[in-house]
């Protein structure tokens, strides 16, 4: 029986294992050094905030794995010998495979800041990160102030977490506005205000210069590059993005760049070795997508596709229309298709932006300025139906159609106020004045 070994028990690896099991009776082993069982990484924040217990983040009960004959092995893979198809663990034991899948995910970026390895300085990615956070920032007596460096999705989640325990947070963001590398101006500015409304000390256009240690090797303060200001703090969160977690592949024959290089079949340069999820890097980017996409949903899709390939139904990874979602404190965000911020926006892309007076809801619709083809939508504070936008993007609807049929896409709970009329009015006004 063919033995499939998967390194990494995140969403990519586990989705793969589940779908292989649906399609075949191959022997499957999942290896992880992080946790015994699969958990939802994106839910770690809710454990710290006290919404969930850690066990609630595990989508399958513990008996699930044995029942479905998926072997779980706890261990850290040190090296891979692809000639003998053997994995060597740090503890000295080995395991052989017929097919190997690398699904080791990401690790937080560190940019060589002085003091970045001090006690009390960390990213937020793994279960261990969360456990550490509980030690260094359990409450506002132990942690009198926290500083977060980097203005992305993990950064704002960490800010929300610390805020929930009444720990004062200073949030250093390199950009001139929160996440404006991705979000258009109006949205990014609305989120700036929303962050400040939560009494989070948001500092835009601000860089970290260094992290200062106390006599015990623990963080004491940080220094801001621009002003030279020294900010006393007990915790520094580094959330300036993530990168593939593949350092253990250095001595192997598997080709890597930023991540493990794969073709559209998710195959690496070595036969019978595949890579999926955050750690995989497409040799050629697909559409507007980046070669490495550290996103929950793409990891899951890769797992689904690779299961087909490995079970004899060879299939390319061919993700459909881009979508993603997040939550900024109290504001939900969903995106379908492509809406670019000012950075990297194609010349043909133009935007219609509508914002509600209460400053917690807005949408931005991106369309082609000549053909009026609908390219994508960002929505804040209004839920939209994935399927509807997926269809509209496939059917290449124009922006007028989307504006006129927006109600069909609404996914808000019953009795919620609808804003389609306001949006349409604003759209028509904008056309008249433009």
């Amino acid at each position: 029986m063919e033995h499939v070994v998967i390194i990494g028990n995140g969403i990519s690896g586990v989705t793969l294992a589940r779908h292989i099991r649906k399609l075949s009776d191959k022997k499957i082993t999942i290896i992880s050094a992080e946790t015994d069982y699969f958990f939802s990484r994106t839910a770690l924040m809710y454990v710290y905030m006290g919404h969930l217990k850690f066990e609630h983040t595990q989508p399958y009960e513990n008996w699930f794995w044995e029942k479905n004959k998926i072997n779980l092995k706890k261990g850290y893979v040190n090296t891979i010998d692809t000639d003998t198809k053997t994995l060597h663990f740090t503890k000295g034991d080995t395991i052989t495979y017929d097919k190997l899948v690398i699904a080791t995910g990401s690790k937080p970026n560190k940019f060589g800041w002085p003091g970045q390895d001090l006690k009390g300085v960390q990213g937020l990615y793994s279960k261990q990160n969360l456990d550490n956070l509980e030690v260094v920032a359990p409450n506002n007596q132990v942690c009198k102030r926290a500083v977060i460096v980097g203005g992305g999705l993990i950064g704002i989640e960490l800010a929300e977490m610390l805020n929930s325990r009444n720990i004062p947070v200073t949030f250093l963001v390199r950009e001139s506005s929160f996440w404006n590398g991705v979000l258009p101006e109006g949205e990014s500015e609305m989120i700036n205000r929303h962050i400040k409304n939560h009494h989070i000390d948001l500092r835009l256009s601000t860089n970290l210069k260094e992290i200062i240690s106390d006599e015990n090797g623990k963080v004491k303060s940080i220094i801001i590059e621009e002003t030279g200001e020294e900010l006393p703090c007990d915790f520094v969160g580094l959330t300036a993005g993530v990168s593939p977690n593949i350092s253990f592949l250095e001595d192997s024959k598997i080709k890597t760049n930023k991540g493990v290089l794969v073709n559209r079949y998710l195959e690496t340069n070595v036969k019978d070795v595949y890579a999926i999820g955050d750690c995989a890097e497409q040799k050629e980017a697909i559409g507007n997508r980046r070669p490495v996409e550290a996103v929950w949903y793409t990891g899951r899709m890769m797992g689904e596709v690779l299961a087909q390939t490995m079970c004899g139904n060879s299939m390319q990874y061919n993700p459909g229309h881009w979508f993603n979602s997040a939550k900024f404190l109290d504001i939900e965000y969903q995106t379908y298709g492509w809406v670019f911020g000012s950075k990297g926006r194609p010349d043909y892309e133009t935007h219609f932006h509508w914002k509600h007076n209460d400053d917690t809801k807005c949408i931005t619709i991106a369309y082609h300025k000549d053909t009026k083809e609908f390219l994508g939508i960002n929505t804040f504070g209004i839920r939209m139906r994935h399927e509807t936008f997926d269809n509209w993007l496939t059917e290449k609807r124009d922006v007028d159609y989307v504006i006129n049929h927006l109600a069909e896409a609404n996914f808000d709970p019953e009795f919620y106020k609808h804003f389609e009329k306001d949006i349409k009015l604003a759209y028509n006004n904008q056309l008249q004045t433009a």
Binding site: V47, P59, N313, N318, Q334, R383, D390, E414
Partner: protein, 530 residues
């Protein structure tokens, strides 16, 4: 890492009560303390004023607490620290609260004399006497232990309903729904029956009737004394009797077909109302394991079978044999019941065969065979007892085991241990009937939003009915579970906007998507073709 961290018994200490919240709690507890004094027969000079003060203190304390807890924060889901607080994470305070509540229920159901109930004709004492002035205003009669309970129950729903509305004030569905349960409790369950009692005289007598309380939840509705009192009360009483029957066979199925069982369970029902308001702090404690689900299905349907048998036996016991006096004789009644059960059973099997799980089929067949066998046994035997037991024994057993122990003592008393809907989930026969209708013949479902689920587990954790919502959401599968009461909290707590309660066509209601949106269309076709 220490074990502590794994179980989120965090080192956090910033979740304690604020000063205002402590004062508010103290005010509320002071109100309760007055009741405690009354239980110990402390004589108050003016009971009307003392009662008003006590009720007001509780209301003010709760409202003040809620204001302080929620109005200082921005609108949105704020479940911060739920699992760190002793009361909401089965901590010491949680267990103590459970104990006190359970104790109260035991006294209420089995030792009402401890609350001051006296022999007929004598004046009440203790706590019940304290409520006499209010009872006299409403119904003109002195209070009973049930009046005391009803008042406190209503107060809890109103005060905690206010708290609930503040907590979910960003969510219009929750606000309107809570307004609805508060209204139905105050008007239908509390005031109207009292006013109806005021109409009673020596020649005219209506039962205490909460109009929205439908059989089989209201399992005593067709007992002899009630039916007699309704029939003897002339047109109004007969109207009520007919309304009671129509509620079961016409109103309920139509509304459930259109809106799912939520129209009742989380918009109207008093048990649901208490669970949704006072019980909201405990919703995360319900057991989501597959094992609990299996237990739930067997227990709740057994209760349903029990109540059907019990009611049949009781009604049967007081019907006549002579068809010339009255059209509904023992024989006709039994044939009617047996036919109805057969129609429902055969109908479900013929039209909804594919939607029934294997164990559901076995269970249904098993129960059906047992019931019909009992009927047959009756026809071919001495006819002394229907179903081998005396109807009175059945009725008493049901009233004790289900009516008192399950719905009261365990159902509410164990809120802080098993979550807020133990009774609705495991015991309520009404929920079983509505659930059957909802699962097989309703437009209601919870839809999921394409591929946007991140499997975080908030929906499952905060499902008071113990449904593993995430299991469906992460597959992109509509949720059509019979136990779902449509409270809408899964949708509210979802950080990615994945869940939506909907009433739509029966077509496409069940959509077992193997693969989510996101991959290209061919792959989806491929999988769905299989």
């Amino acid at each position: 890492m220490s074990n502590k961290l794994n179980y989120s018994m965090s080192l956090a200490n910033s979740y304690g009560l604020s000063k205002s919240q402590k004062i508010a709690s103290a005010i509320g507890i002071l109100g309760l303390f007055i009741f405690l004094l009354a239980i110990f027969n402390i004589q108050f000079p003016d009971r009307g004023i003392v009662l008003t003060v006590a009720l007001l203190l509780i209301a003010i304390g709760t409202v003040w607490f809620a204001n302080n807890a929620y109005l200082n924060t921005t609108e949105g889901i704020k479940n911060d620290g739920v699992w760190f607080k002793s009361i909401s994470s089965r901590g010491l305070i949680g267990w103590l609260t459970g104990l006190v509540l359970t104790g109260f229920y035991i006294v209420l159901y089995f030792f009402p004399e401890l609350l001051g109930l006296t022999e007929k004709g004598e004046a009440n004492t203790g706590l019940i006497a304290l409520f006499d002035p209010l009872s006299r205003i409403l119904s003109g009669n002195p209070a009973s232990q049930w009046f005391v309970y009803g008042t406190l129950y209503t107060l809890a729903i109103l005060a905690f309903g206010y708290k609930f509305i503040l907590k979910y004030r960003h969510n219009r569905y929750e606000k309107i729904r809570t307004g609805s349960v508060m209204f139905f409790q105050l008007a239908f369950a509390f005031l109207i029956p009292e006013f109806m009692a005021r109409l009673n005289s020596d020649s005219f007598s209506l039962p205490y009737y909460d109009l929205k309380n439908i059989w089989p939840l209201n399992y005593y509705n067709f007992e002899q004394y009630r039916v007699n009192s309704m029939i003897s009360a002339g047109d109004i009483g007969t109207g009520l009797l007919i309304f009671g029957i129509v509620s079961i066979f016409v109103i309920t199925p139509i509304l459930t077909y259109k809106y799912g069982k939520r129209w009742y369970c989380s918009w109207v029902c008093g048990c649901g109302a208490l669970a949704e308001t006072a019980g909201d702090s405990f919703r995360q404690l319900s057991d989501k394991s597959q094992f609990a689900w299996k237990v739930e299905r067997w227990v709740i349907h057994s209760v349903l079978v029990f109540v059907v048998l019990m009611t049949t036996a009781v009604v049967h016991s007081y019907l006549g044999v002579d068809s010339t006096k009255y059209w509904l004789t023992k024989g006709t009644f039994l044939i009617l019941v047996a036919s109805l059960l057969t129609i429902v059973f055969v109908g479900a099997f013929v039209f909804k065969r594919k939607e029934l799980a294997k164990d559901a089929k076995y269970g249904a067949i098993g129960y059906f065979v047992i019931i019909i066998a009992l009927f047959a046994l009756y026809y071919f035997s001495s006819k002394s007892n229907l179903f081998l037991f005396k109807p009175e024994t059945l009725r008493k057993t049901y009233g004790f085991l289900i009516g008192s122990i399950f719905s009261g003592v365990i159902g509410t008393g164990f809120y802080p241990i098993f979550g807020s809907r133990v009774w609705c989930r495991f015991g309520c026969p009404m929920a079983a009937i509505l659930g059957f209708q909802q699962r097989l013949f309703s437009k209601f479902r919870i839809t999921t939003n394409g591929g946007q689920c991140i499997s975080c587990g908030n929906c499952s954790t905060y499902c008071e009915m113990g449904i593993d919502v995430r299991a469906y959401a992460q597959k992109g599968e509509n949720i059509v579970r019979s136990s779902c009461v449509g409270c809408g909290i899964c949708s509210a707590v979802c950080p990615r906007g994945v869940l939506k309660l909907e009433n739509d066509n029966m077509d496409g209601r069940i959509n077992p998507n193997e693969i989510l949106l996101g991959n290209d269309v061919n792959l989806m076709d491929l999988i769905n073709q299989k």
